[in-house]
Amino acid sequence: MAKSTQEIFDYLKAAYPEVDLVLESAKLGDPWITIPAEHWKKIAKFLRDDSDLRFDTLMCLSGIHYPDEVLLAIACHLHATEKGHTLAIKVKVPESNPNIPSVESIWKTADWHEREAYDMFGIIFDGHPDLRRILCPDDWEGFPLRKDYVPQESYMGINTKYTEVEASDD
């Protein structure tokens, strides 16, 4: 039987009373559960292995930057093939210490997703076997999807700055 996010939240709350879980939602769209970074891996394993939940696939893992709160976050969208329920989870960490445990050992697909989040946001995934940049070149500076990102002036002698070219008359 497919569970709603509220039901899953209550279920998790019962299983982990000591963990500070928060159910949040915005004005539009779907709700999500926020989990503290230090408990993320433990809960991820529980989400996958518990017989009532069985979230066997990690559909998506995306990095998010909240410059106002000086936070970095990941959003994980889970899906259970047999049970049919889905769940959104957020893990938030401060920008100064952006360490989140890696879930690569739980869902293999997290490997590349986490590399991408590292590449774009500079979130460091502890325990990831091969945390390199994935889309940008290895020696790229900065994390492009952070809201305060300033592109580097030049890369390998190529000017990366966008300059408006005046339209000529001919």
Binding site: L28, W32, T109
Partner: protein
């Protein structure tokens, strides 16, 4: 001279760069392959050569509507499906109902695009294995689909046809006739393809038992689309989690059965695509029958959509698998964060797991059977 490394007692190995310019990496994928003779001992994919900053653009361009053309350019061989995924995500976020006729046209377009994309996939798969002729046969058919698209949208590859709340314009007058004609002439061509390629004994030898992906591993890697179904998992969002109006149609989900080899081998992934084309034909026929002839194709949505804060993760089934858009909106006219979960990206990440211990030629077959589009991998 060529460097052949011998480490310790192990056998000498050669590291070879397959790509980014190589005939069968389907674009600019680079595989760092470690070879022992012709035996592949390790593969390391390097991606990012086609990274065009889709997500950064999405956050920077003018408004939500202006993101649609960029979604086209992600998976450029199934642009309609990419647009469909995006507009569905936005409509779910904003809770917009679209007119009936729009839904039908969108579904027909998406299914035609699915056929076109699968045709390309099976054609180039044959090409990877050295069969040149089927490639041109399927391209003839693909051209006909592109002609239909061109008549309605004005473009042959990147359409920008769907928009939030409807379509850019109504379909061409001949649309119904053309599509019916196409479906009728297309069915015998599938049989032709089956005779020429699918049951060719050399083709079977090259694809059966190669690159076996067990269902458990496939799920753990979050594989989707024909890659997942090739492993025998009956999972298709159109059926299991219907979006748009897919719940109204009667169609099957073909899965791999290990007919000529092991379950989840290259041949199974291939045959799933071939059989899916037939299912798409069924959907198109039903949709054409039920489609209202008259009606508005634009819901009253402002050109610059204003939103409230919100979050949505919406997924649709593209020819390559599950395409997810994760959109965070705020009060401005631009998305705060937009992430595309590209099926090719995820499917490609399992390449090292299934290609270890195969031969060089098998590696080509495996990459072909995963059917990646680098535009979507790198976004």
């Amino acid at each position: 001279m060529i460097e052949i490394v011998q480490k310790g007692k192990s056998r000498p190995e050669m590291v070879i760069n397959m790509g980014p310019q190589h005939p069968s990496t389907h674009g600019v994928l680079r595989l760092e392959v470690t070879l022992d003779g012709e035996l592949v001992t390790h593969v390391r994919p390097h991606i990012g050569y086609l990274h065009r900053c889709f997500e950064k653009y999405g956050e920077s361009v003018g408004d939500y509507g202006m993101v649609t053309p960029f979604t086209d350019r992600m998976d450029y061989v199934s642009a309609m499906n990419q647009e469909h995924g995006y507009v569905i995500a936005m409509e779910r976020l904003l809770d917009i109902e679209v007119p009936e006729r729009v839904e039908y046209i969108r579904v027909i377009m998406a299914e035609l695009q699915r056929i076109a994309s699968h045709l390309l996939a099976v054609g180039t798969f044959g090409l990877d294995l050295g069969a040149f002729t089927p490639f041109l046969y399927v391209f003839t058919e693909r051209e006909k689909i592109l002609d239909i698209f061109e008549k309605s949208s004005g473009a042959r590859l990147l359409y920008n046809y769907m928009c939030i709340g409807g379509l850019m314009r109504d379909v061409d007058d001949d649309f119904k006739k053309d599509t019916e004609e196409f479906v009728r002439t297309f069915r015998p061509k599938i049989t032709e393809l089956q005779n020429l390629l699918t049951y060719n004994s050399i083709f079977i030898k090259r694809t059966a038992h190669i690159g076996v992906l067990p269902p458990k591993v496939a799920l753990n890697y979050a594989a989707s689309g024909p890659v997942l179904r090739g492993s025998g998992v009956k999972w298709d969002l159109r059926k299991n989690n219907p979006y748009s109006i897919y719940d109204r149609f009667d169609f099957d989900i073909p899965v791999g059965e290990g007919e000529v080899g092991t379950l989840g081998d290259c041949w199974d992934r291939y045959i799933v695509r071939v059989l899916e084309m037939e299912e798409s034909c069924k959907i198109i026929e039903q949709a054409l029958e039920a489609m209202p002839d008259e009606g508005d194709v634009q819901q009253n949505v402002p050109k610059r959509v204003r939103t409230k804060p919100g979050e949505i993760y919406a997924r649709t089934e593209t020819p390559r698998g599950e395409l997810g858009y994760y959109i965070i909106s705020d009060t401005s006219a631009k998305p705060y964060r937009i992430k595309a979960r590209a099926p090719s990206f995820v499917n490609l990440s399992l390449l090292p797991a299934i290609s270890r211990g195969s031969l060089m030629s098998d590696l080509v077959a495996i990459v072909g059977s995963i059917d990646i589009v680098l535009g979507e991998v790198d976004r």
